[in-house]
Symmetry: C2
């Protein structure tokens, strides 16, 4: 089972990613152009994302519902910016039940048009507001250049949709959900994110304002990991979503929408994984620990498997997501290799000596600063008592989870450049392969944004929120030397 090593990140980040996704059996290209098959190892990560995010949505008062996959083509045209943004990406159903349809139907690229049509039926007065809904669904946006998890024609996502009585409430909701995404990214995905506002050119088609969380991948490119839109009254006016207000007057509702997708799985992979394969944050790892029994003789086999099974059953009964690898056609080394590739955070080795000592050896998937360093070229090995194994798994899981976030923050900071003096200097930075987050002043002109994109391939990821801005705001626009309107973050992006 001596498989070829992965291409390294340093050799070719993109090839490394593709090989890892395939070899760890996370996803594959399907026979349908642009659509992927998410295999159990990958889908298990998405299930944990769903469960944990869903709980956060419900804790903030949202309910799930389900709206149709198919949308009459005419609906898309009712909001002018919306149709302009999505028309090029639509998949169109023209035939159903053996007949040509009177009006073609599009497969939802997002559901604003359908959902606000329905909200308009449900809302009469201010007492019917707010509506706080979420939908877990598949959407289709026709893509020419696809990449597993990161950009596919069909993807899985959640889309929250809300309607409010006032503009202030809608803004509050938009920011609240951005906060939920940030918290989820940091606490579950172990990915540090910058929150901020998109410029007009990156705004959602039909929104008043789009807020985002932006993460840095290991190739220093940015990944937009989630967006939260204040839709204002654009859709309520297009879909006649009105209500009788407290003062008796008829008013248009204020909407928000917000979403994250299976793209997050790609973000997790590209943030944490290494040249040995997948690295997963324990809170989102379908398998947190794998038990590998080690023995030579039949006698050893019996006693080791007995102890390993006992541990396995105890951990399962306590709710730990553990596996046991009893395959008899593979060496322990081949098993280690496979489980490292597949990103299991903790490996539990148990051999005859361990059984005698009532201990096990735990090997964490990454080096933990909180534990004694291993000798150079070796992995950390932690000797743990069987009696306190569940405590050890819990402790090591949280240490590993924290370590991943710490590493990712350090990497981002190391590749963040503030105080660039000239546009030439920024061009130089983006002409190299490595990429970076470059903080700089911008005069607010979309033409300048377009020029920089044209010349460097970098875009404005966001106008960062106050806590992410530089201590001293840049006074001038890096490109024009004019007075800066905003400090912005420039980066190449996925």
């Amino acid at each position: 089972m001596a498989e070829e090593k992965l291409t390294t990140r340093a050799q070719d980040f993109s090839a490394w990613y593709n090989e890892l996704v395939e070899r760890a059996q996370l996803a594959e290209h399907s026979p349908v152009r642009g659509c992927m098959v998410i295999r159990p190892n990958g889908y298990g990560i998405w299930e944990l994302i769903q469960q944990n995010l869903d709980k956060m949505f419900k804790d903030t008062g949202h309910e799930n519902a389900y709206f149709p996959l198919l949308i009459p083509q005419s609906f898309m045209s009712k909001e002018a910016e919306h149709v302009e943004g999505f028309a090029p990406e639509l998949a169109v159903v023209t035939h159903g039940g053996g007949k040509e349809l009177e009006e073609p139907l599009v497969i939802r690229p997002t559901s604003e048009t359908m959902i606000y049509t329905m909200f308009a039926k449900w809302v009469q007065g201010y007492r019917d507001l707010p509506i706080l809904m979420n939908q877990w669904a598949n959407v289709v946006r026709w893509e020419m250049r696809t990449r597993l998890f990161l950009r596919t024609s069909e993807f899985l996502w959640q889309e929250g949709h809300t309607a409010h009585e006032t503009e202030a409430e809608a803004e509050e909701e938009t920011l609240k959900m951005l906060g939920v995404y940030r918290k989820f990214a940091e606490e579950f995905m172990a990915i540090p994110v910058i929150t901020g506002l998109k410029t007009d050119s990156e705004r959602f088609a039909g929104a008043l304002r789009t807020y985002c969380i932006e993460a840095m991948m290991q190739d220093n490119k940015a990944l937009q990991a989630g967006t939260s839109h204040n839709l204002g009254q654009n859709f309520s006016k297009a879909f006649d979503l009105k209500f009788q207000g407290r003062d008796g007057s008829v008013q248009y509702a204020w909407n928000t929408s917000w979403g994250v997708s299976t793209r997050l799985v790609g973000g997790i992979i590209m943030t944490h994984s290494d040249d040995d394969g997948l690295v997963l944050p324990p809170r989102l790892a379908p398998t947190v620990a794998v038990i590998v029994p080690i023995f030579k003789t039949d006698e050893e086999r019996a006693s080791v498997l007995e102890a390993a099974d006992a541990i396995y059953n105890e951990m399962r009964s306590k709710g730990f997501r553990v596996k046991i690898d009893k395959r008899d056609n593979m060496s322990p080394g081949a098993k280690y290799y496979e489980w490292e590739l597949k990103g299991v955070p903790l490996r539990i080795e148990i051999g005859p000596k361990d059984v005698a000592n009532k201990t096990v050896v735990i090997v964490p998937r990454i080096t933990l600063d909180s534990r004694e360093a291993a000798k150079p070229g070796r992995k950390q090995k932690l000797f743990v008592s069987m009696d306190t194994l569940s405590n050890s798994i819990e402790e090591l899981s949280s240490e590993l989870q924290a370590q991943l976030l710490k590493n990712a923050i350090a990497r981002r900071e190391a590749n963040t450049i503030r105080g660039v003096k000239t546009y030439e200097e920024m061009k130089e930075i983006f002409s190299k392969g490595e990429g970076a987050f470059v903080y700089a002043g911008w005069n607010g002109d979309p033409a300048i944004e377009a020029k920089v994109k044209e010349e460097t391939k970098a875009t404005i990821r966001c106008i960062p929120d106050a806590e992410f801005r530089s201590a001293v705001a840049p006074a001038t626009c890096l490109v024009t030397g004019e007075k800066a309107k905003h400090e912005v973050i420039w980066s190449k992006a996925y």
Copy 2:
């Protein structure tokens, strides 16, 4: 808030169903023909179905994955029966990204063709088997006559797909999952089901054998609530799903598939609900108990709300799905009416006297045989100590759950007719509005099945499994008088 009463079941079962689904805000027709919107009250039931079934699937060794929504039209034609069965129901995507597609794509009506294409890539040798997978997804089957939850062009479902080394293993899997469905129906949905084999005319297009669970609704019509198919080698041969066997020879795999859908929500409604509205089994009720505070003066209001909030918070913290209804623009009576309509199993009333006595009044949604009968025309009221409220909720929930199953079994038995002597007698039964399950002998001839369907609208629901057969098997075919090949169940069906 004095709403009009529902049409009663006796007046018009079908109108009653439609009104109930709409008024309890479970689902609605969408602007897209045949597609429904599942509102939070209805989706909450589906979420509990998903959670509990998913656990049962995982406990039996299955993993979730996700396969594309879109399938190349040519895939559908590779299995002859399959394409014949599904071609009339397909929705076809002809345009994507602004261009006409080279090959049209169909929206999956079911995913055998795509999934076995992928399995064929993943399986080389017998060690790669079995594959035990499940997918939660939406599917589209173009329907002309639709009914919310029961028959819609788009519906949500799960489809299990497995591949095995031997025919025996595939048959074992098929029956195991049928058993899972039966257990789920009885223990969670409180719906008694008959397990059995479909005749060829009702067999899944492409299957060797289709097994089913069949339930009786309150209008005595049958609802096929779930199916489990032994696909034999039909799909493995069509999609080249081969493996090297233990003896070194190349063999085709043996497949099974099995599914249940949002139709189950319709089945729950039609099995348990009454003329006051929805009745839900507590295990699948998004809200198990609703607390209604009752007061007149401001002073009472303060003390009652304080006690009600305390109860609410305690129950929530213990994991009970409870709500509290503090709306101040509605009378308690109007609230009772609404929560009965919406099917909350237990109502908890708390007034000033209750606060003083440290008790509450619990009113179960249906009459419990296990408790003292109420006076004629009154509802059962149970006086319960606040200190032991969580025990009471648990006890009453299981009593109510058991009562629903008991009632449903009694109703089914009362409307099951065995020992019909002549075909005329059966025709007479099905000519009446009420319907029934009629057990009778059948000679095994599809032409006879077709004739009976033509003449009575009843179909063979299944050849029941041994435990559901009559003590003495009918010797002759009810229609022809020839020797009976099987005892079968005739009924009109959804």
